[in-house]
Symmetry: C2
Subunit: 145 residues, 2 copies
Amino acid sequence: MDKFMQAAMEEAKKGLSEGGIPIGSVLVHKGKIIGQGHNRRVQNGSTILHGEMDALENGGRHSGVFYSECVLYTTLSPCPMCSGAILLYGIPKVIIGENKNFMGEEELLRSRGVNVKVIQDPSCIKMMSDFIETRPKLWNEDIGL
Amino acid sequence: MDKFMQAAMEEAKKGLSEGGIPIGSVLVHKGKIIGQGHNRRVQNGSTILHGEMDALENGGRHSGVFYSECVLYTTLSPCPMCSGAILLYGIPKVIIGENKNFMGEEELLRSRGVNVKVIQDPSCIKMMSDFIETRPKLWNEDIGL
């Protein structure tokens, strides 16, 4: 696992240790992490702070040119909201930890020209499947079920 | 203009009076506003609090069944991020103030079964066109340009 996915994983673990949903993300600009975050549904009572959204929010305000030089790393396949944020800001590349536990809008992203890479990392898969097994109701809420 | 679009418009005006981008939204459940908000890019330095996102966030945590009984009102056609949030939560109906100044992901929403209605309200159109003319750079940032 490369250092950026490792950083996303650390965010996910932080979320889990806070009693939250273990999904983490980092936004990388020219080889440097400029935003990182994790799902905050439980911690903040938030419906919009998925891991990717938290990373984007913590990354601060930027121009489209800046985002066009970014790569977003996330431990889980991005849901419609997070995929929409990727499209809004024109982030050209997304590295995904796994999509075995949840298949997000990867096809939509690809159809709009985003370079989507799924690494199917065993530790990402296990972290999420353990969580879903333990907290199915909370997980369903997070994906709008 | 019906009372819910009026409430979204009031949110947009509040945002403008704060020095922000005038886009407002309300989330309505069975005829009652349960979340309302406006764009907070300037006010909070936020990249994710578009009007619709702010309304969803302020509306609090709910199940998919609850969202399936909701209608989202927004003064402007929803961008990819906000449209993605609508899809994530399965909000079945969206009423849009106008799409003359910005065409969001209406076709994507319709293709996924969302009932999308655009009212082309003259006051929504004027508010946004005046703003874009006055603050083009800020507006471009908000739509990822």
